[in-house]
Structures are given as C-alpha cells and as structure tokens.
C-alpha cells in the first residue's frame, strides 16, 4: 500500500511539474484553457493544441480532475464546486474521441484504467495480437489511420475558440494559429516508446508494419449528412453504377464508409471557414462512444525459389479441375504449396513457374524454375526451414515431384523469370514411331539441321482458347537415337525455342505444323511420350 501511495505521490508531483511548465511556457490565459476542458477537449489534446505535447503527457496523474484543481488554484474563473468539466458522464474527447486518452476497450466493454498509462492498453493489445498471430519480428513500422471526423472536430474547436477569443490579444499571437502537432503525431509519440518497450524491438523503416485503424461510423455518417452536395453527388454516382452495389449490403456499408472518409476529407478542404461555422454546431457535441480500433499487421510477400522435377505423367503443373472433375491425381503447385505451408506460415501462397508442361509430359534433368510467393509471412524462414521444405517434398512417398536449389530469393528474381521465359531454349526427349524404318541417311539428315524455322498454326488441341495464328518457331538442333529391339521406334532429342509445340512438330497436326518430323522424313510420325530434359535458364541453376 505504501509503495502504491508513494508512486501515486510521485506521479502527482510529476503531473504538477508538467502543468506548471506548460502553463508558463505555452498556455494562453488559463480561463481559455479551462473553457476548452469544459467543452470536452481532453487534457492531451489541450497540451497538443498549445504546442506543449510531449511523451511526458502520458503521465497517469494528468487527469481532468487533477488539471481542474490545478486551474482552480491558478485561475479564479475555475473556482466553484460544480464545474461542467468535472461531470463524469464518460464522454470522449470532443476532438480525438479518446484516441489519445483511451477510456475503454472497444471489444470488451468499458474498462476503466486509472492506474496505468492508458496508451499501454493499446500496446498490450498489439503485443497480444502479434503473439496470437505468431509473428516473429526484428523491428516494426507504424501506420495510423484516423477517421476524417477527428480533423473536422479539431477545426471546429479552433473556429470556436477564434469566435470566442478572437478579439483578445493572446489569441492574436501565433499561439493558436500555428500548426501544432496532429492527433496522429501525438498518438505516435505516445505509443512508439511504449511499443518498443513491450515488443523489445526498435521502431523504424521496417518491413513489418503495424497498422492501427480507428473508425467512428456514427460520427462519420453524421458528418457526411451535414456536408453540402454530398447526398446529391453520391446518389448520382450510385444510380450510374446500377443496383449492383446495393445488393451486397455488408460490402456496400464498408465501401460507403471508406468512401465517406475520403469524401469528407475532400469536402472539408474545399469549405471556407465561414461555411464550416454555419454547418457545424460549435463547439462539437460531446460523444460518448469512442473510436473503434482495428489492429492489423502486414509484411511484404517473400519469395522462395527453386527448380522442380515432375516425374509423373499423371500430375499437372497447377490444380486442374473441369466440371468438378479433377484431372490428374495431384499437381506440382499443390504438392509444393502444401510443404511450404506446413513450415512457413502466411496468409496465402502463390505459385509461379517459368513456363509449363502438359500433364502427360515429365520435367526431368535440370528442372524448371519456380517461385512460391508467401503473403504476409509470420516469420522469415531460416536456411534450415527452407531445407526442411525441400526435404519434405523430396522424401514424400509418391515421388511425383522433386525440388532442387530451394532458397529464399528477393523479388528481383521475379522480373528475371519473366524476362527469360520468352527467349529461353528448352530441350526435350520424345519417344516417336515412324510408319517406315529410318535409314542412317535419315538420321544424318536430321542431325545436321541447325536453327531451322518452322511455322505452327495454332494446334487444334488449343485452338478453342487461343487465337488462330501462324507462329514461327526455331528448332535449334535434333538428334535421333534408335530404340534397341524395335525397328520403328526412336528417341528424338531436340532443342527448341520456348513456345514450340513439340507434339505437333512430330505428328504435324493435320499438316498445320510445317515442316514436321513426318513431313521431313516423308512418312507418318507419331509421338508416344515426351519429357522436358532441360530448361536453359541461368536462373536458380
């Protein structure tokens, strides 16, 4: 008990010294200060408006009653037992709606916290949310979003003060007209040291962002209705958009609110002080409901890249579903995502690859470069964790997919992958059949070909979704290898420009690819199996 008393006494002393310093240095005549207090402006906003705000303002003893008694001592006008500023109706600050001096926790009802610095409540909510979400952080940056009403309130109070004290000498000094610290800056000043202490990491230009979004729907909507032209313009815009926006009411509400905020901001800028005074009640009405606070976190996407091998002819690259029916037993995308997901937690996972192969084509040899984009990742995966992801895929029972060179990469690789995609060369091994056996001359004829141009009409197989075009492609080289023990089967090795349709190049696609293996060898050629044996890119090699 004594310790508490001692602490309280110390705090009181501190509050007193803060007040005395502020009164001496920057406060206007105290009756004006007292008047602000009585129209519901919080202690912290008063300090802020008079340029006396500092981190010290979070002092727990700096309460309205304390402030009032201080004013009583120094200013005659504040004397008297019952003063409107002392009423305990629980109203929020008429400027900041309790953002700088939180009075209650929005989700769990009203909680009075007189004993601790109230900002710390927000801090511990942030800290708990970080723990709940499992974020691991080495620093943070802070984003604060306030409702437009706060700015309107501040302007209203300023204009009210001007109206009331504009003729007094002290008002004509720059004291009140100068730009003072905004509510947002004030909150930042109070909460950053508190967050740093609680989270144990420094605030700065960190990629991990803490976002505090304050909203006040009632006040925002009320303000919106006051603004001129608003309803007209809104309604016109809505009727132009049709009924679509109205059908989904929750979406509509949210949309309207965020639009409202930017609209209010814009409208307020365009309104002259005089018009402002005629529209608003000065001073602003007291509001008992504080702002609603939503705490969210954001980390930019990270990329994990590597090369994959696809060893199955019944696994597609991406999940492929036609009319609710799954094509193939699995997909490279899902297999990789699943393992990344198991080890690195994020809000979403996106798979990107440098090109793709058909479901019945295997991807062997060097493998194909790919990236996994992890959105809002909870912790940056360590080298060991990356290895675990790789091991998990490579040791899976079914062995459909294998991973090589998996590593954390930066987002520049993204552009490199897209760049290389168009010009890269790809090497294939195709099992082909010819209607007549090939002679050594035939094999020789094929193997001396270098950088041959072919013309492919869009294959019938994809003509339903692609544009009908003549596509020119280069076959860089070919090599035909006999298959032992059969006279009509061969292994065709070839290296081509990206985008060449290999199956069509072998069988000719009803003469729509020309020349084709069949047309060059003057026989019918069929393709039975195809494997990609190399994707020639420097990337993730």
């Amino acid at each position: 008990m004594t310790a508490t008393h001692a602490a309280a006494a110390e705090s009181d002393a501190e509050a007193r010294s803060i007040l005395e310093r502020a009164a001496a240095a920057s406060f206007p005549p105290l009756h004006a200060v007292h008047h602000l207090l009585s129209v519901g402006v919080c202690v912290r906003c008063i300090f802020r408006m008079f340029g006396a705000f500092s981190h010290a303002c979070s002092c727990a003893s700096l309460t309205v009653p304390f402030f009032h008694s201080f004013l009583e001592e120094h200013d005659d006008s504040a004397k008297g037992g019952s003063c409107s500023c002392l009423s305990t109706d629980g109203a929020c600050c008429s400027i900041c709606f309790g953002i700088l001096l939180p009075t209650c926790h929005q989700d769990e009802g009203v909680v009075p916290f007189d004993d601790i610095s109230r900002i710390d409540i927000i801090t511990s909510m942030v800290s708990q949310a970080i723990q709940r979400e499992g974020y691991q952080i080495d620093g943070f940056s802070l984003e604060i979003s306030l409702p437009a009403v706060v700015a309107a309130n501040e302007r209203a109070i300023r204009l009210y003060m001007k109206e009331k004290y504009g003729s007094e000498n002290w008002f004509k000094d720059e004291i009140f007209s100068q730009q003072t610290m905004s509510v947002k800056e004030g909150l930042r000043l109070l909460i950053v040291p508190s967050l740093e202490k609680q989270l144990g990491v420094k605030h700065g230009n960190n990629s991990f962002r803490i976002r505090l979004t304050y909203t006040h729907d009632d006040a925002s909507l009320k303000l919106k209705r006051l603004l001129p032209n608003d309803s007209n313009r809104k309604r016109k815009a809505e009727s132009r958009e049709g009924n679509d926006t109205r059908r989904n009411s929750t979406y509509d509400d949210k949309q309207t609110l965020s639009e409202t905020d930017s609209f209010i901001h814009k409208s307020l800028e365009g309104i002259q002080d005089q018009e402002f005074c005629s529209l608003f009640k000065l001073p602003p009405e007291k509001v008992s409901k504080p702002c609603h606070l939503v705490i969210s976190f954001l980390r930019p996407a990270i990329y994990i890249g590597g090369r994959y091998l696809k060893l199955s002819r019944n696994v597609s690259q991406s999940c492929w579903i036609i009319d609710d029916e799954r094509m193939g037993e699995a997909s490279v995308e899902e297999i990789i995502k699943e393992s990344v997901c198991a080890i690195s937690r994020g809000d979403g996972y996106k798979f990107h690859a440098a090109g793709r192969e058909d479901i019945d084509v295997r991807m062997l040899g060097s493998g194909r470069p790919f990236l996994i984009e992890v959105l809002n990742v909870r912790s940056i995966p360590s080298a060991i964790e990356i290895q675990q992801i790789s091991d998990k895929i490579n040791s899976s029972e079914k062995k459909h997919v294998r991973i090589r060179n998996l590593k954390l990469v930066d987002n520049e690789i993204w552009a490199m992958m897209r760049e290389g995609e168009a010009e890269k060369q790809k090497q294939y091994a195709a099992l082909i059949w010819t209607s007549s056996p090939l002679t050594d001359d035939d094999l020789q004829k094929i193997s001396v070909i270098k950088d041959m141009e072919i013309v492919q009409n869009t294959p019938v197989r994809v003509l339903h979704r692609r544009s009908p075009l003549e596509r020119k492609r280069i076959i860089h080289w070919m090599e035909i290898e006999k298959v032992e023990g059969s006279s009509n089967y061969y292994l065709l090795h070839l290296c081509t420009q990206a985008g060449t349709y290999i199956k069509e190049f072998v069988h000719g696609d009803l003469g729509r690819t020309n020349p084709s293996i069949g047309s060059m060898l003057r026989c019918r050629a069929e393709i039975l199996q195809l494997d990609v044996t190399d994707v020639k890119m420097d990337l993730l090699q």
Partner: protein, 201 residues
Amino acid sequence: MAGEDAAACAPQVGGHAPRDAASFDEETRALIAPDAGSLPATPPSAVEANFARYFAADYLNPGHDQYVYRHPNGLCVVGLAPAHVALKEEGGITAIDFNVGKTDRSEIKVTGKRKRNAQHLQENSALCKVCTKDKTFVVRCCVKGQLLEINDRLMKQPDLLNTSADREGYIAIFMQKPADWLKVKDKFLSFEEYKNLRGIC
C-alpha cells in the same frame, strides 16, 4: 556398336559437333530410356488418340460420305470419308472451290481468342465444292457452329483429298456449342459402324 548407347555415341557416329543429348546424367538417361518390349507394333495415330471419330453416310445425297472428328475441347474437324463418291471418280478430285453462293469461305479471316468474323453455319450449309474431271459435289458442314478455318493447302494441293483425306486432306475446323453437339451426335455412325456399312478395312 549398335548395342551401345546411341545418343552418347552419336557425335562420333555422325561425325558432327557434339550435342547436349550426350550430356545426360545417369538418372535422367535411365528415366528417358524406353522399354522396347512394352511398345505396341503400331501405336494409335494422333487422330485416333486425340479425336472421337464420327461418320455421316449419304449426307443429304447418296454417296456423300463425310467424317466429323471431335476433339474433347469441342472443336470438330470435317472432311471426306473414305467411301465418298467423288473419291471414286476417275482421276479423283482435281480441285476444291470454297466459293459457295454468296460467300467465299476461304476469304474470311477469323481472328483473336473470341474468333471474330467466324461464320455461324448450319449442319446442311454448303461448306465447299469438290470437282472431279467432269462433276462437282457439294460438301456440307455436318455440324452447326462457327467455321474457324478451312484447309487452304487444299487449293494448291487438291490431291491431298485423294491421298490423305483423313489427315492433311481435312477440309475445315468448326467450333460448336456442347449443347448443339449433343443434339446431332446420335445421328452419326462410329468408325466401326461406318467400316461395316461400306465394307472397308
């Protein structure tokens, strides 16, 4: 020599520059090596493997046999069936004419994914005419839908109709709505049925 790895030896055998084909690691080499024992003597052709083959015998006129090869993606390749009467004429087909009445089908250029300019035709619409030494036969669309392309190689090489009407000698490609296909599907014969009807093997 013949028993050895042909690809690895290819550079030496052919006497030309070494190729990347020789540079596979053992594992890749093993994966791509085919098992000769499991290969069929004659594999299914690309047409057999990729299309469902349907036939219309005596379409609108006796002896006017046509085929419709339907790809799972909904596209239909249309051409002359083996027993088409024009193929039996002396000298076979000598010319093809895509100019039927008001429009020349070979002059319409379909463009883009959405297939702009594609003509919507009915099953019994005339697609083209094939000419023999002294006769002309009208070929029908057989399917209702958009005409995506005609085989313009036939204008320079009409002989493709005589030599490989079932492949390079196809006449046109259509895209039709799945619902329209279901309506006409049952009117066609399967390859087996057609074979039995015409006594060909």
